[in-house]
Amino acid sequence: MKLVCDRIAITEAISIVQRAVASRSTIPALECILIKAEDGKVVLVGNDLDIGIECIIGSEIISEGKVAVNANLFGNAIRKMSGDTVTIEVSAKGIGDTDTANENNVVRIKCGNSDIKLNGVSASDFPEIHVFETKFDIILTQSELKDLIKHTIFAVGTSETKLILTGCLLEASGNNVNMVAIDGFRLAYKKIVTENDAVSGYLGDVAIVIPSKTLKEINSIIGESDDKIIIKCSNKNVRFEFDNVIFTSRLLEGDYIDYEKIIPSEFKTSIISDVRPLIEAVDRASIIITSEINKSPVIVKIEGPTANICCETSAGKVDEIVPVDMKGDDIEIGFNNKYLLEALKACTTEKINVEFVGPANPCLITPFEGDSFKYIVLPVRLRADR
């Protein structure tokens, strides 16, 4: 195998596929990047068995072939070299022409005045990325997908006991696409409307549950651009195709929680407020919450035209007053400051509705106008009232 490519292009490609390389594994091949020069194109592949990333780079192929090489060593070597073009070669004979077992897998990297040889691993040891037949596609722009991920991922579950909740639900119906994350204590729902029909290849509504790790990695690779991203789905797997990247991941199987049932529809108290002063007030009240164990709640008291946000811990006491438009009964309700703050910070409108059912019932945060998001935070029961 011999190829010549742009150093910057391959550096970028390495940093993308490295996200799918296991940092430490008992199988050496899993710590590798596969370099594939076949069918007139060069593809870098990373695969940690959870996710697999393929990235195509423009290059001139002098002779075809493939090899796997330790991702860290390869990445560091190329990053630290100086020069515009890199020549990568797997020599037919090994270093010093000795009869070593891996004599055919020595990767020679030449760039500028440097000549680095790395011992590679046979490409046949590298796990294939699962190829699957797709049932339907969801087509979004990169910024749309980023929007969905960014505004829900904070509420994704982390407990392995409820595995399905460690992923986000992606639903598409016509040109309505939404993502939902639930960790048991809160819910984040974000909706976007696409220009064209988002679903192709299937008539009807579709829903998949994508592992949060996959979404976090995708989110850091894609940009805020209007370039398309095609999400190809089967029942068990998903493939994101965008730019020069193909990102494959398994899906979480099982029934997602019927989240619409959790969203309350009748309320006793509702307020309209600017979101900024609420965020600032809760943020300041959080200053004195220093202990994660025995965590003190932030208490929200709504009486007339003000929301009183206060908190008292062994470290001190904070009292905040935020003017609001209020309808319905007075209420006093406690929250985990982190849950409330993250929900408020994810609000994309200046004005929001906050609606309450009771001190032991979910609280719903929605935009003052539109329906682009719904956040639900479950309260902290202040005192055993039994």
């Binding site: 006991t161 409820k162 639930i182 048991g184 204590f185 819910l187 929680i257 959790i262 025995n294 003190s296 709640p297 406690g334 985990n336 032991a360 979910p362 479950l378 309260p379 902290v380 029961r381 202040l382 005192r383 055993a384 039994r386």
Partner: protein, 412 residues
Amino acid sequence: MFSEQIILHSDLNNFYASVECLKNPDLRDKFVAVCGSQEDRRGIVLAKNQRAKMMGVKTGEPIWQAKQKCPDLITVPPNFDEYIKYGRIVREIYYRYTDLVEPFGMDECWLDVTGSTGLFGDGSQIAHKIKEHVKRETGLTVSVGVSFSKIFAKLGSDIKKPDAVTCIAKDSFKELVWPLPASNLMGVGSATAARLKKYNIKTIGDLANTDPKNLKVWFGINGVTLWRCANGFDNSGVAPFGYKSPIKSIGHGTTCVKDLVNADEVWKVILELTQDISRRLRENKLLAGGVCIAVKDNTFHYKEYQHKIDVPTHSTMEIAKEAFGLFQKSYRWKNCVRAVTVRTINLVSENMPHQISMLSDETKREKIEKLETAMEEIRERFGKKAITYACLLEDLKMSKAKDEEIIIPRAM
């Protein structure tokens, strides 16, 4: 910093057996052992009197074995109410000398008499006074250790028995204490003693002269504590009158009359045990944030399992289900089950604010809560047997005798 503490450790000799002999003077000159019921498979020696002890009868051995050593052994069933009563009477005597009395089990107490010397004489004199008063007023004998630390006071009370006083003074403790085997030191059980032996530490003196850094590596922080104890550096105080150590766990266990052969039988025993735990959680206004089960199979293989409960609870049903779920997940049924203990851990106050979860059905929880509260109220008025779960009406293979749980408090 402060003047030296004067600590007494008073140990009632052969407590259970002595009480039985007091109640029934005919027994006094015979060989007596207080034993659990053989029918219920608790046929072991709980305590023995001085004469039985001379014949080599040991606490914890099965009755048949004891009878081999001592064919004339008379076994009597235990009477815990009596023991508690006598324990209290004796403690009243201790309180005449100091308010710093810390019970350790039913028959042992530490007394801090540092502040009482002006009234009653030095430590040794107080020890003798206590010993005489207990004997005169109750007929029981005590052995008392007098020293400058709790650990050495306890050690002292073990040196001469019965009806004796042993003083371990700061300037002479090395001669007296250091030649003793390390296992005599409180905190060194059989497992620790065996491990110490591996490092050629046989006596308390060996332990005291080992570099604490090494002990820390071998035994963790407890190793250093042992080293401090062996050197007499232990300066823990005696808890004052009325001190209650915070409850860390509430549990209940039983050895079954017959082996439990399937999961259903285990479930019933767990449910029955949990009812008492639930009641005690309610009494103490606590919720369980975790559950721990200990299972002993019929080969006496013993294992403990524990896990967290997502939403802290005091409900019988919820705790029992968690405990049983844990059992189902962990127990492999290689052998039948002999004994089960359920213990609730990570206890939190009922009044602690708690995060509501959408994964638990709050309305269902509230229903269960109301049901169980009603059951508790009925039981309070009409007795424990007035209402129960139907499945618990069958034979549970549990002893009919009331299981009195003896809580052995730890040293402070």
